[in-house]
């Protein structure tokens, strides 16, 4: 099956405002390379998780996937069509096929709109020709698909009358109402209580089973472990490891992935506590990337080559289903983590 979404060598950078100092020194503002050569693909009916910390470029990549950000280089293809070559109306039509849900359930709904209005809005924008009855029916279907049943209980409510989880479901319904094929979920449950999170993520699983392709942005590896088929780990704008979720988590090949796995808080056996590999320092400033491998200043196994040469993302020897960007990926990997 051909992938629904394909991103190839995507590069996105932002130029902060030129300061007076820049003007005096006659230099341009330093461009912030938020995304630096990212390639990935998502097939229908599967979920890919983009995992990374803040500043890794995962949200920017997601926005580029929907055409909300213009890339400096690289291509974004939706169902085979390159986004950059589209006219404005073609782009608008594409928006109907790919939708986004956001992190903050408290901010993503207009407090003055009733639930029915919020969910109907995409229809008003994209299908103004629909009759009132058709629109209402679509709203009800979307709300029920999002787990808010019976829909009639919710249609007339305002957001402040709903809990966080319910609001997020309304946002999901608004995303589903146009019948999209791709759903980009940016930290969809991180602002919700744990008891509610599970419900929202289970809903995404259900939608995936119905054939939706999902691009899941998260900082939480555990969420990726339960809800994504494949995972791509991002660091400072580039993918450092990518592959089937279970494999990557059980046997990580990149030191950053290993650090992320180690850092997940969980009860530890007595001896394991001491063996925790803590990565020191902070991620580098995105405007001033380190030379060579971007992770080398913090990497516990860095060698001289890492300082000079940036590693390519490629499949390690004998492991075709995944790729790693590390010069030492082929070395005998240390065990991912002790069995729980």
């Amino acid at each position: 099956m051909s992938p629904l979404l394909e991103i190839e060598d995507l590069a996105v950078s932002f130029a902060p405002r030129r300061t007076l100092a820049d003007a005096i020194a006659r230099r341009g503002p330093e461009r912030l390379r938020a995304v630096d050569g990212v390639s990935l693909s998502v097939e229908p009916g599967t979920a890919l998780a983009l995992v990374g910390e803040s500043g890794s470029g995962k949200t920017t990549t997601a926005m580029a996937a929907l055409g909300l950000v213009r890339p400096d280089a690289g291509a974004v293809r939706f169902d085979g069509q390159d986004l950059s070559g589209l006219t404005h109306s073609q782009r608008k039509r594409l928006r109907g096929r790919a939708q986004m849900i956001y992190q903050d359930p408290y901010g993503s709904l207009d407090p003055r709109f009733r639930v029915s209005q919020s969910v109907a809005e995409p229809l008003e924008v994209h299908r103004p020709g629909l009759s009132r009855a058709e629109r209402d029916a679509a709203v009800v279907t979307a709300l029920e698909d999002a787990g808010l049943a019976p829909a009639s209980d919710f249609l007339h409510r305002f957001p402040h009358e709903l809990s966080g989880g319910q609001r997020q479901r309304v946002a999901i319904a608004a995303a589903l109402v146009l019948g999209p094929e791709l759903l980009v979920a940016d930290e969809p449950a991180s602002m919700l209580d744990v008891s509610v999170q599970a419900g929202i993520l289970a809903l995404l699983d259900e939608l995936k089973a119905k054939g939706l392709a999902i691009l899941l942005i998260t900082h939480d590896l555990s969420v990726a472990a339960h809800h994504a088929d494949r995972v791509a780990i991002m660091y400072l704008g580039a993918i450092v490891e990518e592959g089937p979720t279970a494999t990557v988590i059980r046997a990580p090949r990149h030191p950053y992935t290993r650090a992320l796995i180690d850092a997940v808080p969980r009860p530890r056996a007595a001896g394991e506590a001491a063996a925790r590999r803590l990565v020191a320092g902070e991620p580098a400033d995105a405007a001033r990337l380190p030379s060579g491998c971007r992770f080398h200043p913090r990497c516990p196994i860095a060698i001289d080559r890492c300082r000079v040469e940036s590693p390519l993302l490629r499949a390690p020897a004998g492991d075709a289903g995944r790729c790693v960007a590390c010069h030492r990926a082929d070395d005998a990997p240390a065990s991912g983590r002790a069995a729980a």
Binding site: S108, V125, A149, H160, Q166
Partner: protein
């Protein structure tokens, strides 16, 4: 799949209707706002009912100039022998009309420019922000004097001049509010869906900006009336429109002070002051009510109460 979900109103957040209700309750609770409202409403009613309240039309001579207050004329007569009280009532029409109209102009111009500047950002914002800043820096009254002197006096000119020079504060306030609303999740979501600018502005931005705009406009009414009074006092007002400022000007140039005729000068001045105070009370109260975070009770040193045996 259906959930047995218990909907639980978030009492702390409240919705638009209940937020309005609570803001209104806060306003009602302040005697200042009520007082201000009564004052302004009182003057407006008097102005509207002018023909019913006065025996003569404006400017009708009924006696000698600067006749002192008497039973028939409680505020005496002015320099033209006109009953001061009637003139005050007719003058209310002019002053209030100019004040409200100028404030409306200011609201439209300031609101639109603030909206454009805050919504589009970038180059548009840079240019408009500069324009706003230049207008803010220029001393308003002298500029009004110059423009009025050149353009010539008439009620319409006065309204336009005052309105065009007072829009800057409104623009700044609106710009800030629009910038903040712009960043909210539901606006970005609407953009991501592909909604056009017009739709986003009308359906998402304006409803949030509206209340603050109204509060600001109420304050502007007070300032506009003062500006008109000042212009009239300086002789730049419309000579055919007998506003309160014109009354003061006429009394002044008619040597009311040396004649000891305080009744020709003080009443119109008091009226102007009263309306401005009224507008300020209402406007400030509404602004405070819309932004309860301006209160500083959290800085107080008082602390919790210890009680014995709290029940469960």
């Amino acid at each position: 799949m259906s959930f047995d979900l218990v909907t639980r109103p978030h009492a702390s957040l409240g919705g638009p209707a209940s937020m309005r209700a609570r803001a209104l309750a806060r306003v009602r609770r302040r005697p200042a706002a009520l007082l201000g409202g009564l004052i302004v409403a009182g003057f407006v009613l008097v102005a509207i009912a002018a023909p019913l309240l006065t025996a003569h039309g404006p400017g009708t001579r009924v006696g000698p100039p600067f006749a002192p207050p008497s039973a028939a004329h409680p505020l005496g007569l002015d320099d033209g022998g006109v009953d001061v009280l009637s003139q005050l009532i007719w003058g209310a029409r002019v002053s209030l009309l100019i004040g409200f109209a100028a404030a409306a102009v200011s609201m439209l111009v300031g609101g639109s420019l603030g909206l454009l500047s805050g919504y589009f950002g970038g180059v548009v914002d840079t240019v408009l922000a500069r324009v706003i800043d230049y207008f803010l820096v220029v001393p308003v009254l002298p500029l009004m004097i110059v423009v009025a002197a050149i353009w010539g006096p008439s009620v319409l000119h006065i309204i336009v001049i005052v309105g065009l020079l007072l829009w800057t504060t409104t623009a700044r306030v609106v710009r800030a509010q629009v910038q903040s609303v712009r960043e909210r999740g539901y606006v970005r979501r609407a953009e991501a869906i592909g909604a056009g600018h017009a739709r986003i502005v009308v359906r998402h931005v304006l409803p949030q900006v509206g209340p603050l705009l109204i509060a600001n406009t109420v304050l502007t009414v007070g300032v506009a009336i003062f500006a008109e009074t000042a212009l009239a006092f300086l002789g730049l007002g419309d000579p055919s429109a007998a506003s309160w400022g014109a009354m003061i000007e006429a009394a002044f140039s008619g040597s009311a002070i040396s004649a000891g005729a305080w009744w020709a000068i003080v009443p119109p001045g008091l009226c102007v002051a009263a309306v401005i105070i009224g507008c300020s009370l209402v406007g400030v109260s509404v602004e405070d009510a819309l932004n309860p975070r301006l209160a500083t009770s959290h800085l107080s040193r008082r602390t919790f109460r210890l009680i014995r045996d709290a029940d469960d």
